[in-house]
Symmetry: C2
Subunit: 255 residues, 2 copies
């Protein structure tokens, strides 16, 4: 199968001009088929603040009322997405910005209210893999915003890590998929105060051991659990690294 690299980058990297330009240079230089999934949370919070809308987060997720949905639609679907697309076009990459609503790429359902009412937040139901594969094979590079739709006319806010993971799983039957999660650190660290202590490879048994030892904790646990789920679904490799290393040469490789 042909190789496909799916890169997920967080808000911080795409929201500052210098780091965005470096990322776009690095992404443009990646060989083979590729997809970029981006966040934009910091810009959304900043815009919300300017508009006098309070940003409320629970378990790292944004409570999305109707006004907040408009904010993230503007920031993720407009400001961040279209600037990335224009920047990639300038680098010779035939980028196409997509929310889940565009060509029905990602259908979701509004998260049911349990302990928390997240509001207009969507859990992914279906990724339109054949259509995405068709675009990718034409040389088009999808740039995916963290927004989905319910098929009934409503946009829904959806976590960018989830968009990347679900897209990787859906495309795993059609490509040899590498999923790269970029974050602030060089990889999963053995010692959070030592940036050089990157764990180069984590297999499932090691993951259990590292959690038991308390080396891996907090938000890294669901990130790694999602990575193993992606591998179970046929994704070839998941890499957790810095945005400056999206070629996957360094970082933590989940296998």
């Amino acid at each position: 199968m042909e190789k496909l690299t799916i890169i997920k980058v967080g808000g911080k990297i795409v929201e500052e001009e210098a780091t965005l330009h470096q990322l776009l240079d690095d992404f443009a230089a990646l060989s083979g088929y590729k997809v970029l999934v981006h966040g934009g949370g910091r810009s959304a919070t900043r815009l919300a603040t300017r508009l006098g809308i309070e940003s409320r987060m629970v378990n790292g997720r944004r409570i999305t009322d109707a006004e907040t949905l408009n904010v993230v639609t503007m920031v993720y679907g407009g400001l961040v997405n279209k600037n990335i697309v224009a920047g990639l076009q300038a680098r010779g990459i035939n980028a196409l910005g997509l929310t889940g609503a565009d060509v029905n790429v990602i259908r979701s359902q509004k998260r049911p209210v349990q302990e928390v009412d997240y509001g207009f937040v969507g859990d992914v139901k279906q990724v339109n893999a054949p259509l995405l594969a068709d675009l990718i094979r034409k040389g088009i590079v999808p740039v995916m915003a963290p927004l989905t739709h319910d098929g009934e006319g409503h946009l829904l806010n959806t976590n960018a890590d989830t968009i990347a993971g679900e897209t990787a799983k859906a495309l795993a039957g059609l490509f040899d998929v590498t999923l790269v999660y970029c974050f602030e650190k060089r990889g999963v660290l053995r010692d959070e105060n030592d940036d050089e202590s990157v764990i180069p490879t984590i297999r499932r048994e090691e993951f259990r051991q590292l959690v038991a030892e308390g080396v891996i904790q907090g938000g890294m646990i669901p990130k790694l659990e999602n990575s193993f789920q992606a591998l179970d679904a046929g994704v070839a490799e998941v890499i957790i690294t810095q945005a400056s290393a999206i070629d996957g040469a360094s970082g933590t490789h989940i296998r």
Copy 2:
């Protein structure tokens, strides 16, 4: 050649929920290949006001400084475009939201500073007609926001009438194109105070006569000049009508 209808709707119609829903119902019901081009100026002005950014218009065009460019990118490319796309998907239309940057659909150049510095405003240089035609023939319905790009990484604000006209001209060699401009009135009126006085057909010689008589004046003159230019470039018909009549059965037909 196969028929293609390009509908341009202004901000007012797409910015109010009731009129937007009616428009989406009507647009979904149109048979054959179709493209929707939308504005969003009122929402852009509203957001700018909330952000303390002054909206300055010259000759009906928005002066677009860097902050205003961000506002229109959020409103046109995000809020308005993605809500239309989600609304059309709910009606079984496989909509795809596009700015000019997406798959390099419309390349423009920043308007040179003459008497007025319009800022980040783009004049259309090239519409990627083969790519648009390819999408349309696949059953995809482009929903075009009034934003273009210069190919050097910059988004540019571009008038929605111009986007519609240039797209119609570019596709005229590939489809039998009808271009429908929707505005507040039922058509070009013989008496601006009488909504029933729609002129059903205007040919070039009649246009000159009506201008000479003072029946057609102000902003309607460039609208009609653009319509005749579209006809010169091979567009089959231009219709000026209300959003409630996008099937083209009424309104003013420019031939």
